[in-house]
């Protein structure tokens, strides 16, 4: 069930977890991977790759 009237957008929701530290970062990484898998399944033309995310994390 969605509770808030706001839609904080996916990116913000994921990053709020990252800010919590290691446990949150793991959750965020898993969520991102899920999203990427779903996008690939849908053949989204601009779907990011795993290496995209890894590269960005390392920047």
């Amino acid at each position: 069930m969605l509770s808030g009237y706001l839609d904080p957008a996916s990116g913000s929701a994921i990053i709020s977890g990252v800010a919590a530290g290691a446990a949150g970062a793991v959750v965020a990484a898993k969520t991102m991977m899920t999203k990427m898998r779903l996008r690939k399944r849908d053949d989204a033309p601009d779907a990011p790759t795993t290496s995209d995310i890894v590269d960005e994390s390392l920047q």
């Binding site: 069930m1 969605l2 509770s3 808030g4 009237y5 706001l6 839609d7 904080p8 957008a9 996916s10 990116g11 913000s12 929701a13 994921i14 990053i15 709020s16 977890g17 990252v18 800010a19 919590a20 530290g21 446990a23 949150g24 793991v26 959750v27 965020a28 898993k30 969520t31 991102m32 899920t34 999203k35 990011p48 995209d52 995310i53 960005e56």
Partner: protein, 470 residues
Amino acid sequence: MTSTGSSPADPKYDRGSFRDPSSRVWRDGTRILRGLDEAAAADFARTEAAAFFAAAIEAGTIVGTRRVDEPSPDGRAWAAVLEHDTVPVVTYPHEWSFSMLQDAALLTLRLVRSAIDDDITTKDATAYNVQFVGARPVFIDVPSFEPYRDGEAWWGYRQFCQLFLFPLMFTAYKDLPHQPWMRGSVDGITPEHARRVLEGRRSGHKGFLFHVWLHAKADRRFTGGSADTVDEMKSAGYKKEIFIATLDRLIALVEGLEWGRSESTWGDYSQRGHYESKELLLKGDFVRKIASQRYRSQVWDVGANDGMFSRIAAAHADTVLAMDADDLVVDRLYRELRDDGTEGIVPMVMNFADPTPGIGWAGTERPPLHERSSPDLILALAVIHHLALTHNVPTAAILDHFVALGGEVVLEIPTENDPMVKTLLSHKRAGTHDAYTLDSIEAQAADRFTVAERLALPGGTRVLLHLVPH
């Protein structure tokens, strides 16, 4: 609670109360009322039973709130109606100094942190949920609290970043005043805009990597609604401990933000070096005499500086709005008032030559200052020359504006022979301000007001007038 946008004689919904469809605010006379729909009423029942809520009400960090039985302005049968204590004057984050915004941010975070121990969270985190009663921040959006559902992240995180964290970082890390950015957008600063401003050689600032840089990147990568994301995060193992850790880290981050600037154009103005101490005492006596003639509801101190005259007026008024265009001066005043517990003075960052306009939906969601406050008395001490000579506002227009505001005025006129006036004129093309003379201004004032009292300060270059509307 806020009291903007509705006429006391004609109860109707507040123009700024519509974003959360589960509740609406209206004003009935001096009372502030709020209707809750079924879902919001159920959430409030949980909230009011929680220990954190009772403690916050007791401490005054959440606005005083009680259930009442009142009809709504449009006949809608709300599931519950609440009455809130009134806030004397509504102010907005683009009128707050750095420390005011920081204290409002910490209040928000600490309330959510204490609420989560009772399994309560907030559905948003806008800076407009906080108001200042004197120099004390108070959380006013009671229906923002709702039960925490296991596995959900904090819904208010993005708003908190846009309306609290990024503006604070701008000032702390870049010495950029947050007020123009907040005034420019009712939704605050986006992660991408924050990244562009804060990124650079010193982008290793605390909090930048996660809250700004990654946030902006994630914003671009994962656009769209978060409905699926909530489920995905829950499946990935998101739990309450992560929620709490997020809040704890945000609290530590915001507590650690400091505004390093120690100087500003007016930073040393409080020393009032251009006044002889005898003149300052006489000026204080003049203000005290007029302020004490009768008790007033609201006083505006335009160009309040260190708040010397605001403090005098505050002894004879419900609320003094201590306005100054210099955010550093206002910040110092706020911290003094906060630390010594002075009540009745609300500091505001306000350039009287460019006051707060209406912003948000239809330009009425967050109305301009003159729609939120009606001064009974205006202290315009040594500001007319700045308005006239620095901002090129004709003196007649300045006086007309005072007339429109409707209150009495204590007007200090630095004459054309005053050293400060000469300094300001030295930057101007010769002849541009020949009309700025004591005789001319006094004549214009007498046309518009009754001059109840006049005092020429002994230095010979400053005159004080007590102006009463005809």
